[in-house]
């Protein structure tokens, strides 16, 4: 038995999502001259089945030993936005919440399914090197 292999509350796809995010971030860093990835912004729709806290934790684990280690993750939640199937009006509302105009439920999802790496902040290789040298010169302490 491999008891305890899954985290409490069940296995998580946040781990898979975090790994993909790190791959995409590192690829984007590489395409833009390299350097350490110090921050990343994710657009996360509220209709996705991704838990932000679990994702934040999984992202920290997934970055270990990479140029994104210690990267600060900003998660921007995008509310659900629906176009009513009955009257066509557009509102921010939950899937099972009635349309405020006509009372119908459901409709076309315009926003809320996002799982998109929006931006990354790169520390330029030069800057990282000079910080390292400076740190060495001052003994690395405050």
């Amino acid at each position: 038995m491999n008891a305890g292999r899954s985290p409490p509350g069940g296995p998580m796809h946040e781990v898979a999502v975090a790994q993909r995010m790190v791959e995409i971030a590192l690829r984007a860093a590489d395409e833009n001259g390299g350097g350490r990835v110090v921050a990343a912004r994710l657009l996360l729709g509220k209709l996705t089945c991704v838990d932000p806290e679990t994702l934040d934790f999984a992202f920290g684990v997934a970055t270990r030993g990479t140029l994104a280690e210690g990267c600060k993750l900003e998660i921007v939640r995008i509310p659900a936005r629906l176009r009513c199937g009955s009257c066509g009006s557009e509102h921010e509302r939950e899937l099972l919440e009635p349309c405020p105009m006509c009372g119908a439920v459901g409709g076309e999802v315009l926003a809320g399914r996002e799982l998109r790496l929006d931006t990354i902040d790169l520390e330029e290789a030069k800057t990282a090197a000079s910080r390292f040298i400076q740190g060495e010169a001052t003994g690395g302490s405050l």
């Binding site: 998580m12 995409i24 971030a25 833009n32 099972l96 998109r116 790496l117 902040d121 330029e124």
Partner: protein, 220 residues
């Protein structure tokens, strides 16, 4: 000094690309592919055993069974004389499109009419991962509670059909069939509902007919 880089990439883009490749592969082979999803313990494997037992010989079918760690599901289904490939997700809660591509390569797809993917038992994650299937079908057992469509809307929204299973146990539960169907239809007006029991056989012929009609529809 830091510089900000616009990335603007869908995190699951690789899966989407792999799913599209699967879709093209299935279309070329002329095989209809169904992705069966449910929470753990809703009865997917038992239903598949009944399905495979009834349809084998009337059509050519194959199964890909996803499981966290074991081969039990594949062994149970394989006893009915159909080819089964097991995907062990190693603790992951869902199947991804590239795993389906690898598993499907073990079949001569054009020799089959129907491929059923038994997803990992989980109401949340599998709905996020397109596998390139023709239809997603979700199964909800009446022992799980009728509030599931409201709590896990994505899977109900993405599915073409909802199977209400373990109907033989309905009298022993407080499951509200009408409420479950009403919520599922509010999320997905076109969703078809089939009530069944793999134990008593209730509703199974409707399920088999539905599969056959979908195979024909896929052939256009």
């Amino acid at each position: 000094m830091t510089t900000q880089v616009d990335v603007g990439r869908d995190v699951l883009q690789d899966n989407t690309r792999d799913a599209q490749a699967n879709r093209e592969l299935f279309a070329r082979a002329g095989i209809y592919v169904l992705n069966l999803m449910s929470g753990a313990g809703a009865g997917k494997t038992t239903l598949l055993e009944r399905t495979v037992g009834a349809l084998n010989g009337r059509m050519r079918l194959a199964v890909i069974a996803g499981d966290l760690e074991t081969r039990r599901d594949a062994d149970r289904i394989g006893r009915h004389g159909v080819p089964v490939v097991q995907i062990n997700t190693g603790g992951a809660c869902h199947i991804e499109a590239h795993q389906i591509a690898k598993a499907a390569a073990q079949f001569e797809l054009s020799e089959f009419d129907l491929l059923i993917i038994e997803n990992v038992g989980n109401l949340v994650c599998p709905a996020e991962f397109d596998l390139g299937e023709h239809d997603k079908v979700m199964m909800l057992s009446c022992t799980e509670g009728h509030d599931k469509p409201a709590k896990y809307p994505l899977m109900f929204r993405e599915s073409r059909a909802m199977l209400l299973s373990k109907m033989d146990l309905l009298p022993h539960t407080n499951f509200d069939v009408d409420a479950a169907i009403a919520d599922a239809r509010a999320l997905n007006p076109g969703i078809e509902v089939i009530k069944l029991s793999a134990l008593t056989g209730e509703g199974l012929s409707a399920w088999f007919d539905w599969i056959k009609s979908r195979i024909n529809a896929a052939r256009g």
